[in-house]
Amino acid sequence: MSEKRTGVFVCHCGNNIAATVDVKKVAETMAQEGTVAFSKDYVYMCSDPGQSSVIEAIKEHRLDSVVVSCCSPNLHEGTFRENAERAGISGFTCEIANIREQCAWVHKDRTEATEKAIKISRSAIRRVAGNKKLDPIAVPVTRRAMVIGGGIAGIQAALDMANAGLDVVLVEKLATIGGHILQLSETFPTLDCSQCILSPKMVEVSRHPKIKLLTYSEVKEVSGSVGNFEVKILKKPTFVDAETCKLCDDCAQVCPQVVSNEHDLGLTARRAIHIPFAQAIPASYTLDEEACLGLNPIRCGKCKDVCEAGAINYDMRPETITENVGAIVVATGFDLYPQEKILEYGAGNVADVLDGLQFERLCSASGPTQGHVKRPSDRTEPKEVVFIQCVGSRDPAQHCAYCSKICCMYTAKHARLYKHHVPDGKAYVFYIDIRSGGKNYEEFVQRAMEEDETVYLRGRVSKLHRTKDGKVRVMGVDTLTGQNVEIDADMVVLALAMQPSQGTADAARTLKIGRDKDGFLAEAHPKLKPVESVTGGIYLAGCAQGPKDIPETVSQASAAASKVLALLSKPTLSHAPTIATVRNSHCTGCEMCVTACPYDAIHLENGKAVVNEVLCEGCGSCSATCLRAAISVRNTSPMQVHEMIEACLSL
C-alpha cells in the first residue's frame, strides 16, 4: 500500500482563532498523526501568501491530501480545493476542519477550545485518509429558463434573459401579467404613471419570439435539479380564444353574473366574462368559471351567442403542460396584510377606511372614479384625509415584526396625490418614524410636508370608528407634543404591511425552497447570495423575497437574470462527484436503498444496485439503510465515519 501524505494547515485567522485556540499546539499535535507528512500554522491561510504556501507545500512535500483547519467550509472549501487542483492533486482530497465558527468563536476556555480544535482537525485528517481522487461529473444542461410570476420582477427577469438569447417560459397565475404595479396610480419618487412604465414592457413580452407566456397557469410539480428541471404546469381554461377575441365587450354586456372586481380591490364590479383591465396581456377576455352561471351543463350561454368573432369555446379544458428548463426564477410577489386582522381599525368593516392599493385605484385615471378622489360610501370629495403608517408592520406582538420598507414613501405619495386632486383638502399622516433612504426619497417626503402642506403627526392611532354624521373619528396621540389628537376625517387610508403572496407560499412548497420566519423566500446568504435560493438553479426576485419598491425589484430581477445567464452559458454543468457508489461484492439486491432514495436514483441491474450519477444528490439515505454496507457516498464511507467518530472521542 502506498503511504498517505497529508498536509495540515492551521489558520490563526488573525486573532479570531488564535485568541482562543492554541494554533501552534494544534499544528504540532497534528504532525504526530501517522498519515501527516507536513504541518504548519499561519496567520491568514486564505491570504495570497497563505494560499501559495499550500500549493508550494503540496509540491515540495509530495502531499496527496490536505486538511485546512480554519473557518466554515461554506466560506473557503472552494478556495482550498482550487489550490489543491492548482498544485496537481484532486480538489476532493482536501477537507476543511471548522475550528472557527464551531469552536474558537463559541468557547472561551483556551484548554477546552484547543482540545476540541485538535479533535476536529484529527477527524478531518482521518477522513481525508480515506478520500479518493474524484473528478466532477459533467451533466448536460437544458438551456432554457422559467420565470414564475408575471409582475414587474418576473417581466424584467424574462425580458433580460430573452434579450440575451435564452428561451424563457413565463408562468403567471392570473389571466394577465403585470402584477400590483398596474393597480398603482403614479409612482414615487418621480410621480410617473405606472401604466406608462409597465405597459410597453408587457407588450414586449407578448411579442418576444423567445418568450413563451403561460397565463392563468400554475406550477404543480417540479422534479430534477440545477441544469435540468422538469416542470408540470396546469393551465386553466379561459374559454376564450385570445387570438380571435376582438375585445369588443359584447359578451360582458350580456353576461348576467356580477362579481367584485379584484383589479379595483372590490371598489367596482365586473361580469363573469371580463377583461381584467384594458391593457391586459394577453389581450383577451376571460370567462371566470367560478362566477359563471354554469358551463356543464350550459346554464346561460348568452356570451357565446353574442360573440360575432366566434372566440368563445365552452369546451376548453384544463391542460397540463410539461416544460424542461435549466433554471427557475421565482417572482411571485406580495399581498397586503389583511385588513380584517386589524381589529383596532375596524377589521375592514368601517366605511371609507381604505387600504393603500384601494387609494391608488381612486387616484388612478383608469380607476373606478376616473381619477377623482371620492369616498366610496357617498361619492363625495373627502376634505380631510388621515393616512396611517405602519399598520401591521413593526408590531411583533400582534402582527408583523418587520418594517415593510415602502409605506413611508407611498404614504407621502398618497398625501401628495390627494393634495393634487383636492387642493383645498387637508392631509394628515400618523407615523412612527420616517424611513426615506433612497435616491431623491427624502426630498420627496420633504415636498409632501412643505409644498403640499401635509400635517405629519408622530404617534400611533389607538382606534377609529364611524360617527353619526358620516365621518371617521380617528383617535391618536402626537408624541412630540404629548397631546391626544382626535380628527373627524372623511376618509382614512391604512398603509398595511406587505406580506408574501399566497402564491409565494404555494410556489415555495412546490419547489421545496425555504422561507424565512416571516414567510418570504429565503436567500442562500443574506449578503453574498441575495438572489439565490438554497437550491441550486432556483433564483429569487421581487417582493416574494422581502418588501421592496420598484427600483429595487427591478435590480434584483436583473441580478437573478444575469445569474441564470451565467449558469446556462456553458453546455454542461459539473455535478458533485460525491455521490453514492455500490460495492457489488456486498450487495444482495435487497432493494432497501431503492426505497430509501428520495430521488429515485437507484435501480437493480442483474440483481445488484446501480446508481444513476446524474440523479444522485449524495444525501446518503441509502447508505444509512443498507445492512450490508454495500452502498455509500464517495468520500463519506462508513469506514471513514467510524474513523472520524474515533477522532472526536480521542481526548
Binding site: 463559541v106 420566519k517 439515505s621 467518530i645
Partner: protein, 142 residues
C-alpha cells in the same frame, strides 16, 4: 469520577444544510456554549446510520446528537423523515441493551437558528451530567 469533574463527551452529527449552518451562525453571533460536543458534518441527518450511533457509544461517547433540518424542510426532500423513523428505533435498541435512551438525542435546527443550536448543546450537556459516564457499551481498550 465526581459530578463536578465529569465532562460528558458528545459526538454531534450535523447535517450540512441546516444544522451545521445553524451552528456556524451560533459562531458568527458569538453565542457561547459548552465545548463537550465535537461536530461531524454529514450530508443529511438521513445518512446517519444507527451503526454510527452505536459506534460512537462503543468508542466512549457519553451522548450522541443527530441534528437535521426541520421536518418538511429537508434539503434532500425527505431525508430527515427517514432519519426520524430510523433513529426512533435506536432509542428502543438502547433501552433494550440497558442504556439510558436519553444518551441519544435528535434535534431540528435550521440555518437561521444559531441560538437554538447553542441551547440544544447546553441542554444535552446538562441532561447528561447527572447520568455519569457511559460505561456499558464502551469497549475496554487493551
Amino acid at each position: 469520577m465526581s459530578e463536578q469533574t465529569y465532562e460528558p463527551k458528545i459526538v454531534a452529527f450535523l447535517c450540512k444544510w441546516c444544522s451545521s449552518a445553524g451552528s456556524d451562525l451560533a459562531g458568527v453571533s458569538r453565542i457561547q456554549y459548552p465545548a463537550n460536543a465535537t461536530p461531524i458534518q454529514v450530508p443529511c441527518s438521513g445518512s446517519v446510520s444507527p451503526m454510527y450511533i452505536l459506534s460512537a457509544l462503543k468508542k466512549g461517547a457519553d451522548g450522541v446528537l443527530v441534528s437535521g433540518c426541520h421536518i418538511g424542510d429537508c434539503h434532500y426532500l425527505e431525508g430527515n423523515y427517514l432519519a426520524r423513523r430510523k433513529l426512533h428505533l435506536v432509542k428502543e435498541l438502547l433501552q433494550f441493551v440497558g442504556i439510558e435512551e436519553n444518551r441519544f438525542r435528535m434535534s431540528w435546527v435550521s440555518a437561521a437558528e444559531g441560538a437554538k443550536f447553542a441551547e440544544v448543546v447546553k441542554e444535552f450537556v446538562d441532561d447528561l451530567r447527572p447520568m455519569g459516564p457511559q460505561e456499558k457499551l464502551k469497549a475496554k481498550r487493551a
